[in-house]
C-alpha cells in the first residue's frame, strides 16, 4: 500500500510545532501512522523545534528546581526500554484504526456506535478536547456519497477502509483529501464495501439542496 494523497507541509509543520487543534491533530497523527513519508517530514520539522530550543536564550530556573527534580527522580520508577507488546491483543486481520484513533474511540471498527444520518451514510462523532474542529467517523455504503457540499473552514478526510472517488481523483486507505472554502465537492464511496473514513472539519459544511439542509438541521454536520 502506498499513500498517494498526503498532508501539506504547512500542516505537518504546525503539527510538529504543536499549533493544531485536537481534532486536526487526531487526523494528522492517524495519517502519520499509515504514511512513512509524512512521518519523516514531521521528524524533520521536530528537528527544527530542537534547533530552536537549543538556540533560545536560557532563563534561570528557580533555586531549588534541580534539588526538587532529583528528589522526585529518586522515588519515581523508570519506564522500560521496550514497551511490552501484547501479541494476543492483535486481531488476525490487523486493526482498521491506527493509534491514536483506536484509543480515542476505545476500540476498533467493530466497537463504533454508528448513527444513520442519510441514505447509506452513518456517522460517529468523536469526543474532542476543544471545539475548534469536529472529528467524526463516516461509513458510506458502496456507490453512495455525502451530499454535495462546500466548506466554511478546512476539511480533512482520511480513508481508513475501502475508498472513495471525488471527480477524477481516487482515495484509498491512508490517503487524505483536503478541502477548504474554495472547494465544492461530492465524494462517492467505491462500489462494493464502500468506505470508512475520519473526517475533520473546522467549520460547518454548506449544503446546497433542500434535503441536505434538512439533514444538517438534525445531525449538525
Amino acid at each position: 500500500m502506498t499513500v498517494r494523497h498526503h498532508l501539506t507541509d504547512e500542516t505537518l509543520l504546525s503539527y510538529a510545532a504543536g499549533d493544531l487543534d485536537d481534532a486536526t491533530s487526531l487526523v494528522v497523527a492517524s495519517h502519520l501512522a499509515l504514511c512513512p513519508v509524512c512521518r519523516a517530514d514531521v521528524d524533520m520539522a521536530e528537528d527544527i523545534g530542537g534547533v530552536m530550543l537549543d538556540d533560545v536564550v536560557p532563563v534561570s530556573m528557580s533555586d531549588d528546581a534541580l534539588a526538587h527534580v532529583l528528589a522526585r527522580a529518586e522515588t519515581s520508577s523508570r519506564d522500560p526500554e521496550q514497551p511490552v507488546e501484547m501479541a494476543a491483543s492483535k486481531p488476525a486481520g490487523g486493526y482498521v484504526f491506527p493509534e491514536p484513533l483506536r484509543s480515542r474511540i476505545g476500540g476498533d471498527l467493530a466497537s463504533v456506535k454508528w448513527r444513520r444520518i442519510g441514505p447509506g451514510v452513518q456517522q460517529y462523532v468523536l469526543p474532542c478536547r476543544d471545539d475548534a474542529s469536529q472529528a467524526r467517523l463516516l461509513r458510506i455504503a458502496g456507490g453512495q456519497g455525502v451530499l454535495q457540499h462546500g466548506h466554511t473552514g478546512e476539511e480533512f478526510t482520511l480513508v481508513l477502509a475501502g475508498g472513495f472517488s471525488d471527480g477524477d481523483q481516487a482515495f484509498a486507505r491512508g490517503d487524505v483529501e483536503w478541502a477548504d472554502q474554495d472547494i465544492v465537492h461530492r465524494p462517492i464511496a467505491d462500489d462494493g464495501d464502500g468506505c470508512v473514513c475520519l473526517a475533520v472539519t473546522s467549520g460547518p459544511l454548506q449544503f446546497f439542496d433542500f434535503v441536505g439542509k434538512i439533514v444538517q438541521r438534525f445531525v449538525r454536520i
Binding site: T8, L26, A33, P36, D54, V57, D79, G174
Partner: protein, 191 residues
C-alpha cells in the same frame, strides 16, 4: 571522550549523557543535562505565554520525564534537543487536560513501517541539527518569521495571517517555502 569532558552543548555530547542516564541512572550526567536544558525549556514555555511559575514547573516536569524515559531515547531516531522539545511541547499542550495530544504510537501493530534506512543515514540524525541550523540562517526574514511564530507563539496559520496582516495563502506559502528549503539542505547532506 573522557568522563569529565562531556558537554551537553553538542548533540554528540548530550547524546552520550543521555546514554549514561539511561544505562547507569547517572545523576551527574543528568545534572549536566538539567543545567543545559531546563532553562531553555523554561524560556520556550515563557515565549508561549506561560506564566513564570508554571513555566518553571513545566520545565522541571520535562526534565523529570527525560530521567524517566531516558531508556526509550533512541539516538538513531532523534537528537536529544529534538526529543526534549517534543516532551516539552506535549507537556505544555496536555497541562490541565484530560485527553492527551494525539500522537502516533511507534509500537502500534497498525503502523505502516518505515522503509529500510541505510545505517549511514541514521547516524546522521545527530548531525542533522547543524544542517538545519545552517539552512534556517538562509531563510529570508519573512520565512523565518512564520516559522518562529509557529513554534514559539503557538499560532495557527490564520492567527499568523492576522498578526502579520497577510492573506492566509501567503502565510502557508511562506511556511511551505521555508520547509522546502530546509528539506533540500537535509537532502543534500545525505547525498
Amino acid at each position: 571522550m573522557t568522563g569529565g569532558s562531556i558537554t551537553p552543548e553538542t548533540a554528540e555530547g548530550a547524546s552520550a549523557l543521555m546514554q549514561r542516564v539511561a544505562e547507569d541512572a547517572d545523576r551527574q550526567a543528568f545534572e549536566l543535562l538539567f543545567r543545559h536544558f531546563a532553562p531553555r525549556v523554561k524560556a520556550y514555555m515563557l515565549k508561549l505565554g506561560t506564566a513564570e511559575s508554571l513555566a518553571d514547573e513545566l520545565a522541571q516536569e520535562t526534565l523529570l520525564t527525560v530521567w524517566r524515559k531516558a531508556p526509550q531515547f533512541d539516538r538513531s531516531k532523534a537528537s536529544p534537543s529534538t526529543w526534549i522539545f517534543t516532551i516539552a511541547r506535549n507537556l505544555r499542550i496536555d497541562a490541565f487536560r484530560k485527553i492527551s495530544r494525539p500522537e502516533l504510537d511507534p509500537n502500534d501493530p497498525a503502523l505502516v513501517p518505515d522503509p529500510e534506512e541505510p545505517q549511514d543515514d541514521r547516524v546522521n540524525r545527530l548531525q542533522r541539527a547543524d544542517v538545519i541550523r545552517e539552512a534556517m540562517r538562509t531563510l529570508n526574514d519573512d520565512q523565518a518569521a512564520v516559522v518562529r511564530l509557529s513554534f514559539f507563539e503557538d499560532m495557527s496559520h490564520s492567527a499568523i495571517a492576522e498578526q502579520l496582516d497577510l492573506p492566509l495563502g501567503t502565510v502557508k506559502s511562506r511556511l511551505r517555502l521555508a520547509f522546502a528549503r530546509i528539506r533540500e539542505a537535509v537532502g543534500d547532506e545525505l547525498e
